[in-house]
């Protein structure tokens, strides 16, 4: 992974480029990120307010995927650890949410933090093991996690509801929004708000000393440790951060589907997440948003397309997979840095003129 990142130190292009005044933003990192987040947040709010309930549901799915993909971007894009089992962390977050809501009536913020906490602990355990593994071994171990975890739910079905899963009661919008306020919109607001917070926090983390040590470890472990970076600790931290994000995403998966069942977290989900970060633009947090949009809409569009052309259901179900494959190859051919890489290149062309 030697893809240029947002803060790719020493990229020569940066020196020669003088952005016009209107793109000049505050120099202080946090302030700049917050300003951007506020603009995007207002846009998202306006958007969700002007679409139907189903689109709201899809927006909140996009937000949930974005949260998970942003975490995976930190792990894979910035720290260089490949996880093929991130669906398992989403499942842990979703099941935590389902179980907490089944047995308690805690406020939503506590539920979200708890789902995140439980998954972070799971991430730490896996991360400690992962810090001892490299490349294909790490991929294999995390893959096993994604394969094995769903059977836990079936084995202890009295707790986890077996194949049938646990029903999650829908989140009800606060009464101040009116009785006819669609619950999907409320969840979409929450999901998008949380996604923005996560993106801002991660963007700051990546600009910080920790973020630099992530990349140092990714690029060369030996020189990183010579420079005083504790390699294993850094790798575990990256795993914890990404798992916590996945857990948070899992909570929103639970709210969106209103059900947590093993079938919702197949191996294909973990693979789709990796596809998402690669096609979106590995190493870029904005790429995570692209990935989220892609994972939600591509599936839907492929299914609709198959129906449109009267392709049989069995063939249509494979159509979505085929579309993934074709798109992946096409994007990689056209933009090796993913969609965000392509957009960036385009923007550079425009600003240079």
């Amino acid at each position: 992974m030697t893809t240029p990142t947002d803060s790719g130190a020493g990229a020569p292009a940066r020196v020669s480029r003088r952005p016009p005044d209107w793109v000049r933003l505050p120099r202080q990192t946090l302030l700049r990120h917050l300003l951007l987040a506020a603009v995007v947040g207002l846009l998202a709010f306006w958007l969700s307010d002007n679409v139907g309930a189903f689109t709201d549901l899809q927006l909140s799915n996009v937000a949930a995927y974005t949260i998970a993909l942003a975490g995976l971007t930190v792990l894979t894009g910035h720290n260089g650890q490949l996880s093929l089992g991130h669906g398992a962390f989403i499942a842990i977050g979703a099941y935590s949410t389902g179980l907490i809501l089944e047995h308690t009536s805690l406020p939503i913020i506590v539920v979200l933090l708890a789902a995140m906490g439980v998954t972070a602990v799971a991430g730490a355990i896996v991360g400690i093991a992962a810090a001892r593994l490299r490349g294909p071994y790490l991929a294999g171990a995390t893959l096993a996690l994604a394969v094995a975890l769903p059977s836990v739910a079936i084995k202890w079905s009295s707790i986890f509801g077996g194949e049938q899963g646990i029903a999650v009661n829908p989140l009800t919008p606060p009464s101040s929004l009116g009785l006819s306020f669609p619950p999907e919109r409320w969840v979409a607001w929450l999901a998008m708000l949380v996604a923005l917070i996560v993106l801002v926090l991660l963007a700051n983390l990546l600009r910080s000393r920790v973020g630099r040590s992530f990349r140092a470890v990714r690029d060369d472990e030996i020189s990183a440790s010579l420079a005083g970076v504790h390699v294993a600790r850094t790798q575990v931290l990256a795993f914890v951060v990404s798992a916590a994000c996945a857990g948070l995403a899992g909570a929103f998966f639970a709210f969106n589907v209103q059900l947590v069942a093993p079938a919702g977290f197949p191996l294909a989900l973990s693979i789709a997440l990796v596809t998402g970060i690669v096609v979106g633009g590995i190493g870029s947090l904005v790429g995570a948003v692209w990935g989220g949009v892609l994972l939600v809409y591509l599936n839907q569009e492929a299914t609709d397309l198959a129906k449109h052309f009267h392709i049989s259901a069995a063939a249509g179900a494979n159509g979505a997979l085929l579309a993934y494959g074709v798109l992946l190859v096409a994007v990689m051919l056209a933009f090796p840095d993913g969609i965000q890489g392509g957009v960036r290149r385009l923007a550079r062309l425009v600003t240079r003129r």
Partner: protein, 425 residues
Amino acid sequence: MRRLLAPAVVGCAVALVAAACGGGSSSPSSSSSGGGGANTASAPGITATNITIGSHQPLTGVAAPGYDEIAPSSKALFDDVNAHGGVNGRKITYTYQDDAYNPTQTATVVRSLVLQDNVFGIFNGLGTPTHLAVQQFLNTERVPDLFVASGCDCWNNPGKFPYTSGYQTDYTIEGKITGQYVKNTFPGKKVGYLYQNDDFGQGGIQGLDQQIPKSSVVTRQNYVPTNLDVGPQVAALQASGAQVAVLYTVPPFTALTIGAAAKIGYHPQWVTSSVSADPTTVGNLLKGTSMLEGLVSSSYLPSPNDTSNPWVQTFMRIHNQYVPNLPFDGNTIYGMSVAYTFVKLMQQAGTNPTRQSVVNALKTANLAGPGLVPISYSSTSGFTGVQMGTITGGKFVLSGPRFTATDNGPIGTFNGTQPPPPSNL
């Protein structure tokens, strides 16, 4: 970071467009009470000329073989009704989507049908684990959830889920009647169970246990539908010495079980629930019906092999006209029967029905049709009993009295007759 801004703005713009194309806003429900006069748009999915309903069906995945014929068969009957002028002057548009028997996918497709396609109601959503994923949602949104294709007693809870109604005989009732048959026909024999480990299988076992003495049940095996390997369970059945094996399984698992048993030379008396007794469906999976000979099952609908039955004749005509490429089997009978029941309900729900008025009409409507036993929504939900039958010469032949029961009450017999099919069908 500055490099980020422009792309971010472009990104948002594209996301905006994509989302805006994704779906229009859902129109608010303009409800007017029934009553006479001209047809109006009286509810979501009901216009002056159309009724749009939706469903989730396993068109792919483990439960698809056989079950994928149900929705096309229902649609064929609706097409025939539409060709004869529709219901109260409205044509029925039936959209069904594939959920692959995966509850998570059910949740997604049902939301798209209700929130995006604006269907009037969900009709005959198939499967216990799948439909449980959307029952709460449909009731929260006050969407009629009519004739769920499952005999779980979960659909019979009008206090908590007033918009949901089942269709087939409650698995517990069916299990009871099956249990009574096993007790009387195979007295003293060792009995083994194999059931799908969810509310479908567990409901059936509950009924069986009310009749079959616990001491004669030698093993209780279960499976989850995502694991296609039933070898261990079949071996356990054989090892237990069960002479009668009762299956609460969906058709592909019935075939897998009987096939696996034949391979290890285990030939018990097979008894199955009505959901998996169709010799065509299970026979197709077993490359012939020879292994099914003598299998005992039950039904609340006429057998497709009973060509003297006027309902079967009518359904055959519709089958030949609209879906001649599908096999004519128990799934065809099922799909057309439930579609007929929906038509009958809508005919009795008034000129301009609303979501609420249709659900109300269900309680008092006379829905008699192709069923062998009464269908009722006053106290229970769906068919009230079954008749037992045996696969003989590759055909499912029903015989003996027709039984009715409730979950906890005694078993009675039903002596009424089937009404003939209407002439305009």
